[in-house]
């Protein structure tokens, strides 16, 4: 995560209205925050190329924003769009779980069970 991506990070190919609106809540640049952002970006690039937008909210800078999306844990990823709102906690290290959490069928591994 670079300083320029702190508040709002457009996707690589910015859309005026992205199909997938994701918001990542972090508290400062901790290793978990950085990992979460990198993991998320990679997953989005793989599965949602051109259809997503990531907004990073640093609660240390905007503590009031924690209330709105009911943030308790960080990092927290909130899928704002498509509805319904979904939430994933943690540094997003397990891609399959992130995909399940986002309700995204893994494109290349369709048919593979997620049961662990």
């Amino acid at each position: 995560m670079t300083p320029s991506t702190r508040k709002k990070t457009a996707a690589k190919k910015p859309n005026t209205r992205a199909e997938w609106e994701l918001r990542l809540y972090v508290a400062g640049q901790t290793p978990n925050s950085v990992a979460a952002f990198q993991n998320l970006k990679r997953i989005c690039e793989t599965h949602l190329e051109g259809k997503y937008r990531i907004e990073v909210v640093d609660l240390l800078e905007n503590p009031m924003l924690a209330k709105g999306d009911q943030i308790v844990a960080v990092p927290s990823l909130v899928r704002k769009l498509p509805a319904p709102v979904k939430k994933i906690l943690g540094n997003l290290s397990n891609e399959d779980r992130v995909l399940v959490g986002l309700d995204l069928q893994p494109v290349r591994r369709a048919g593979v069970s997620h049961a662990e």
């Binding site: 978990n32 990992a35 844990a73 906690l89 540094n91 290290s93």
Partner: protein, 493 residues
């Protein structure tokens, strides 16, 4: 919500003990007495209990008193209820939270965690919660914090080891912040809290209990643990009423009240003669028992009238009749109470005992006494209370009530309806409560020479020489007349 002087006075033990451990008064009537000053300042106290035991109300009252009485803003973090629900639920206790919120004295933050809506992958911490709480505390400079019920985190988050580590960090952090906090926890089977919160909050643990026996609910509070300080160890009944929570810590006062030498008239001069020629001791508790229709209420009315004539305030608790009924009936024997009611010296509180639990009665009595500050109280009859509880419950309630009255040096008369039948059995059934009383006056009907008449005698009068005769007792249109000796009290006619 009123800031009463009696509540303020509860801080006195705190100043006495302040060298050892600073305490923050809860402002909850009775609780500060039990804890000798309140909760440990700058630390967390755990309040645990089952569902509906009053945890949330107690915690909220702690904040409200902080704002109203001690000028300390508060933050309420609700994990179980939404803000609107919470505001609505406490409005019946007279807490208008909106007003405090608008004045920036109170922040309510509802935390909503639904496990089924959350996926977890990889490491995380609860900085989000810390930041939310920290922001709320800092924005109003809060001194008091409530986390109600933080255990929801265990249910909402899957990674228990993270939650545990973060809770430990949270309590440390709260301490660093210097806020005095209440953390509530749901009672678990065999443990104080379901997830062992007591492990993290080791300084002060308060347990609330809500029992229903014979369809009557009783709430109890106990300080399980209070590190580094004295605290009352008993289980104390408490009430949740219009004034919020009232804990009845009366037993902690023990028998330390002072006995007065001053005497007061019973309102019947001949009876005063039977009581060592001087009447009752000021601050004494008098049991007046007798079978139905023997004139217990009438004697109480004389007693009250005499007090009013002395210019003393009286409260008459009527559990059988309405105010009007009592006043009318007493007029028929020439005792006019209405002028005293009008003058404001006499207050008649008429309630049906069965409509409330015993503890609510005790609270109602307490409230009325605190409000009127009487010198004389009549409870007519205590027998009706037995209908709402067992004899042990009555005895414990009466002990508390009598101690409460004694501390304030209120002279009290309790009437007691003996069951019909032999006088002997009446005497023995009363023994349970009579031991609490200083003076016991018995009214009885007796048949002699084919006529039914009434007798009065003093069965016991602590600390005074008293008559041992059964005297004739008559109700006339001019009040009570005590006549000739019928027999020696020891001898059954």
């Amino acid at each position: 919500m009123r800031a009463k002087s009696s509540r303020k006075s509860t801080t006195d033990p705190a100043t006495r003990e302040s060298k050892t451990l600073p305490k923050t008064p809860t402002g909850i009537s009775g609780l500060d007495e039990i804890t000798f000053g309140g909760l440990p300042t700058g630390r967390s106290a755990l309040v645990c209990g089952g569902a509906g035991s009053g945890k949330t109300v107690l915690a909220m009252e702690f904040l409200v008193h902080g704002i109203v009485d001690y000028g300390e803003p508060g933050v309420f973090m609700a994990f179980e209820e939404t803000g609107p629900d919470l505001r609505q639920n406490v409005i019946s206790m007279g807490f208008d939270l909106r007003r405090f919120e608008r004045a920036h004295k109170l922040i309510i933050d509802s935390v909503y965690i639904e496990r089924s809506e959350i996926e977890e992958t990889g490491e995380y911490n609860l900085d989000g919660l810390f930041i939310r709480l920290g922001h709320a505390i800092d924005s109003i400079n809060a001194k008091r914090v409530v986390l109600d019920t933080i255990e929801v985190l265990f249910a909402g988050l899957r990674n228990e080891s993270i939650v545990r580590a973060e809770l430990r960090r949270l309590f440390r952090w709260l301490k660093e912040k210097g806020v005095t906090s209440i953390v509530t926890g749901e009672r678990g089977g065999g443990t104080l809290t379901r997830y062992g919160l007591e492990e993290y909050v080791a300084d002060c643990v308060i347990l609330l209990d809500h029992r229903v026996t014979e369809q009557i609910s009783t709430r109890r509070l106990r300080v399980v643990k209070y590190r580094g300080t004295l605290h009352g160890a008993d289980e104390y009944p408490f009430l949740m009423g219009e004034q919020g929570i009232t804990v009845l810590p009366i037993t902690s006062l023990g028998l330390s009240h002072t006995a007065l030498a001053e005497r007061v008239s019973t309102g019947v001069p001949d009876l005063d003669v039977m009581l060592g020629n001087k009447g009752l001791y000021r601050g004494a508790s008098v049991l007046l028992s007798g079978t139905a229709g023997t004139g217990k209420s009438s004697l109480s009315a004389h007693f009250v009238r005499a007090a009013c004539e002395r210019g003393e305030r009286c409260v008459y608790f009527a559990f059988e009749e309405s105010t009007d009924q009592i006043i009318r009936n007493m007029e028929s024997i020439g005792v006019s109470l209405r002028p005293w009611v009008k003058k404001g010296l006499l207050k008649v509180v008429a309630v049906r005992p069965t409509s409330q639990g015993l503890e609510s009665h005790l609270a109602a009595i307490h409230e009325a006494i605190k409000e009127s500050a009487p010198r004389v109280v009549v409870v007519d009859p205590i027998t009706n209370l037995i209908g709402v509880s067992n004899i042990a419950g009555i005895k414990s309630m009466l002990t508390r009530l009598i101690d409460f009255l004694k501390v304030q040096q209120i002279t009290a008369m309790f009437t007691h309806l003996s069951s019909a039948g032999s006088v002997r059995s009446a005497e023995s059934t009363d023994e349970g409560v009579s031991s609490l009383m200083d003076t016991w006056i018995l009214l009885r009907d007796m048949e002699r020479n084919g006529r039914r008449s009434y007798g009065i005698f003093v069965l016991k009068a602590r600390g005074m020489e008293h008559s041992h005769e059964i005297r004739q007792f008559r109700l006339t249109s001019n009040g009570i007349r005590i006549g000739d000796v019928i027999a020696e009290a020891g001898v059954k006619p």
